[in-house]
């Protein structure tokens, strides 16, 4: 302790070891991630013609991220959806899946943030895709959300006396209208906010799944079961079935269905890729078809509410095709009774009846819509 040189080396080493681990270690593990496709082929390679995710930001949005930084939005907003076992971010609807490191590789400055006085913004572009809404919110959040603490930014807008085709009308509590014209900075910022969505699959969703076998999970499960739906007037057996179905729908771990990653927590699906479950004629229709899909998956062209999709849904469940009769009954009952859907419950007896009826089918052989409809007739 008395020799200054040795002392210095000592305290330098104490810092250096931590640095080696966190910085060098993290860099080695995560530093060279590159964009990837939603699904890998059988050998774990990126298919040649696949789109790569995450997509880079557009130029305007990139500039908007600088405004976002400069105005200090990060002091109140995070941009990270935590793992399912670490919090209820997904449940809250702040994201359809947890954020992973690859989501951030294009960003020059990563704006994760560490305080949530405002909601998480990692997927705000999905929640609030409406330009006009975003402009009004940026100009004066209180005009849309009266109790909002989000700071108004009137300095990013010109207020004009007369409405024009460029102006946006903001109406406040006392019904006074103001007409605002966004500046270029406001347009950039809004374009950035709108570009925030992590709604693609990445190969490491599988990684996330493996990480989930943790003691914590039991606690998380209980809370999930507690979820408070406004359906408390339903008989309690149905309530329980819906609650457990919702859990399976939202769960990204063995025993879960992972349905939310494709069909979204809102049940709306994704335009052009994943058909909606909300209001779907398939979901509300014949139970047998639904059960068959849930055991063996579905592929090929399908028409849902008049819109055609052509994609693949592997046998649901983790691992694929592993959902039990009761689980299938629960999750189907759930999707038939949320987002405005209302249809009869599915029981595990019905599921096992269908299962024994089709037991000759080769494992993993997905149905096609045509095949299912043919059986129907």
């Amino acid at each position: 302790m008395n020799n200054l040189l040795k002392f210095t080396i000592g305290i330098f080493l104490s810092l250096g070891v931590a640095w080696l681990a966190f910085v060098v270690g993290a860099r080695a593990q995560f530093g060279d991630l590159s964009p990837s496709s939603q699904n890998l082929d059988d050998d774990g390679n990126i298919p040649l013609d696949a789109d790569l995710y995450p997509l880079p930001l557009s130029g305007t949005a990139e500039q908007g991220s600088k405004e976002y930084l400069a105005l200090g939005c990060m002091t109140c907003h995070t941009q990270q959806v935590r793992m399912v076992e670490a919090g209820f971010d997904v449940e809250r609807g702040w994201g359809q899946r947890p954020s992973v490191a690859r989501d951030y590789i294009h960003q020059e400055h990563v704006l994760l943030g560490n305080t949530r006085i405002g909601p998480d913004l990692a997927n705000v572009g999905r929640r609030q895709p409406d330009l006009e809404w975003l402009h009004k919110h940026l100009f004066e959040p209180q005009s849309l959300v009266p109790q909002s603490l989000c700071p108004p930014s009137p300095f990013l807008y010109d207020q004009v006396d007369q409405p024009s085709d460029k102006s946006i009308t903001v109406v406040d509590d006392s019904n006074i209208s103001r007409f605002i014209v966004p500046s270029i900075r406001a347009k950039r910022l809004v374009s950035y906010i709108r570009s925030l969505h992590q709604d693609y699959e990445l190969p490491e969703m599988a990684f996330v799944i493996n990480e989930e076998d943790e003691p914590d999970e039991a606690a998380g499960k209980e809370n999930l079961l507690d979820f408070d739906s406004n359906q408390s007037s339903l008989p309690s057996w149905l309530d329980t079935q819906i609650a457990s179905g919702k859990e399976i729908y939202m769960k990204a771990a063995p025993g879960g269905g992972l349905c939310f990653t494709c069909h979204q927590p809102t049940g709306e699906g994704l335009a052009g890729q994943f058909p909606p479950l909300a209001g779907s004629d398939w979901v509300l229709g014949d139970k047998e078809r639904l059960i068959k899909i849930s055991i063996y998956g579905l592929m090929g062209e399908i028409e849902v509410n008049g819109i055609k999709y052509n994609n693949v849904m592997a046998p649901p469940g983790i691992p694929p095709g592993s959902l039990t009769d009761q689980q299938i009954a629960d999750v189907l009952t759930y999707i038939r009774n949320d987002w405005g859907n209302s249809a009869s419950a599915v029981t595990s007896l019905e599921v096992s009846a269908v299962r024994s009826q089709i037991k000759g089918r080769a494992p993993m052989q997905m149905w096609t819509a045509a095949e299912l409809n043919a059986v129907d007739e």
Partner: protein, 470 residues
């Protein structure tokens, strides 16, 4: 009159220490003003909302930076310069250069804060001041640190004691930390979330490895000096020191629980945070078992009262910090205003309180001017009261915030944040109390340095340019 050796050392230090203490005081006022504005904006978002300079995010970060680099940096220099020279029994060196470097340091912070307000901040925790000012800050820091090390090396007694370990390590850790972070964030930037890991690591380490050791070192110095008795169980201090040195750099990243970073990072952070129980226990045993041997003396001496308040708050809140790093608790409070609790308890309740005590101890010695007892006591009680209220509001408010945020069915603005609103109001009031308290402190300090009231008022007005006034 013949001066004894201590007085000669004090005399050699008078100008530099006064300079740093005086500038520190002005930054403290600036930080108090920013703190008030940002708190007021959380109770009324329309407060000053039409001025882009006063956007919440900018003010909030300006406050943190003014507090840590302006107040913290300047007072660290003052305290370290003085204690190291006293313990080395050597006069200070390179005074002109040190003052010059000090002026640069303060100018750089002034520009840095203006840069933040003007929208040029960087996204790195505690490195938010624009990139351009950092080389100036770094070089001026190194100049000052160099002369402190020179004084330490020419010490009369080769044996070193606890205050010296803590002060010197803090002195050396800052440039190391800075270089690592600067390299990984600006010169050779890491991609993706590795950046966030590094910036969070820097932000937390800065508090643990720069501010904390100074305050601990000062406490190790002043407690025996005023009480006139040796630190109880002093042999534990070495253990405590190396525990902090080896554990603290690891324990600081548990904030990333569940985030998009390698899983092992928050996991290690948690384990190490729990291990921090040892150094915390050592420091608190050392300080408190010594102080409680002679508690009436502690009560009578105002500087010591400040210091013991600081060490008590260190102990209590560090244990609370350990609890909040457990994953099951962290996932609840992780993104809540508990973060403000941690920041303020460390920087205000612990670091600043000890520095206040130190300044009240040093100033009369080097200037020869006593500070009125009533004014000091007023400062103590308002500070103690303000900090307590502030920390309680952040603690309870943070728990409310975190617990409600975990209820997905509650709407965000109208249920979660509305329930936290009353606590924002309390913090606003606490910041007003603290603002007055700090004003009294600064008046006390300036009066001791420049007893002529007329001179005091003219200097007091030039708040924005602390460097010119000393």
């Amino acid at each position: 009159m013949k001066l004894n050796s201590e007085q000669i050392i004090d005399k050699s230090l008078k100008l530099v220490v006064c300079f740093f203490v005086a500038s520190a005081g002005l930054w403290l006022l600036a930080a108090a003003l920013f703190a008030y504005i940002s708190a007021a904006k959380l109770t009324d978002p329309f407060f000053l909302s039409s001025f882009e300079y006063f956007t919440y995010g900018k003010i909030k970060l300006a406050q943190a930076n003014a507090f840590v680099y302006g107040w913290g940096g300047n007072s660290i220099f003052a305290v370290t310069l003085w204690i190291v020279a006293r313990l080395a029994q050597t006069e200070s060196r390179g005074r002109v250069l040190v003052i010059f470097a000090g002026i640069i340091w303060n100018l750089a912070i002034t520009f840095g804060l203006l840069g933040i307000l003007d929208g040029h901040m960087t996204p790195h925790e505690m490195l938010e001041m624009p990139a351009e000012v950092w080389p100036a800050l770094f070089i001026s820091y190194c100049v000052i640190a160099f002369f402190i090390v020179v004084v330490h090396r020419s010490r009369k007694n080769k044996e070193t004691i606890a205050p010296q370990w803590f002060l010197l390590s803090s002195l050396l850790w800052f440039p190391m930390l800075f270089l690592i972070a600067w390299n990984g964030l600006e010169i050779n930037p890491a991609r993706g979330t590795v950046q966030s890991v590094l910036s969070m690591w820097f932000g937390q380490s800065l508090i643990w490895l720069w501010l904390t050791p100074v305050a601990l070192g000062a406490a190790y110095y002043i407690i025996p000096a005023i009480l006139g008795r040796a630190i109880d169980k002093y042999y534990l201090a070495v253990f405590g020191f190396w525990c902090i040195a080896t554990l603290a750099p690891w324990s600081v990243v548990h904030h990333l629980e569940g985030g998009p970073v390698p899983m092992w990072i928050p996991a290690i952070g948690t384990v190490m945070s729990i291990a921090m129980i040892f150094p915390i226990a050592v420091a608190s045993t050392n300080f408190h078992s010594t102080a409680f041997l002679d508690i009436s003396k502690v009560w009578d001496s105002l500087p010591l009262r400040f210091v013991i308040f600081g060490t008590l708050s260190y102990t209590i809140s560090s244990y609370i910090g350990v609890i909040f790093s457990l994953p099951s608790v962290a996932k609840i409070t992780q993104f809540s205003i508990i973060n403000d609790f941690h920041f303020n308890q460390r920087v205000y309740g612990f670091f600043s309180m000890i520095i206040f005590g130190m300044v009240y101890y040093i100033l009369p010695k080097i200037t020869g001017n006593e500070i009125a007892k009533g004014a000091k006591a007023f400062h103590f009680w308002t500070s103690a009261f303000g900090v307590l209220i502030l920390l309680l509001a952040y603690l309870i408010g943070g728990l409310t915030h975190g617990v409600l945020a975990q209820q997905p069915s509650l709407s965000w603005a109208s249920s979660v944040i509305s329930s936290v609103m009353p606590y924002f109001l309390i913090t606003e009031l606490a910041f007003i109390v603290l603002g007055f308290s700090q004003l009294v402190f600064v008046i006390n300090v300036w009066k001791a340095i420049i007893p002529n009231p007329f001179a005091f008022w003219t200097c007091g007005d030039s708040q924005s340019k602390p460097e010119t006034s000393a």
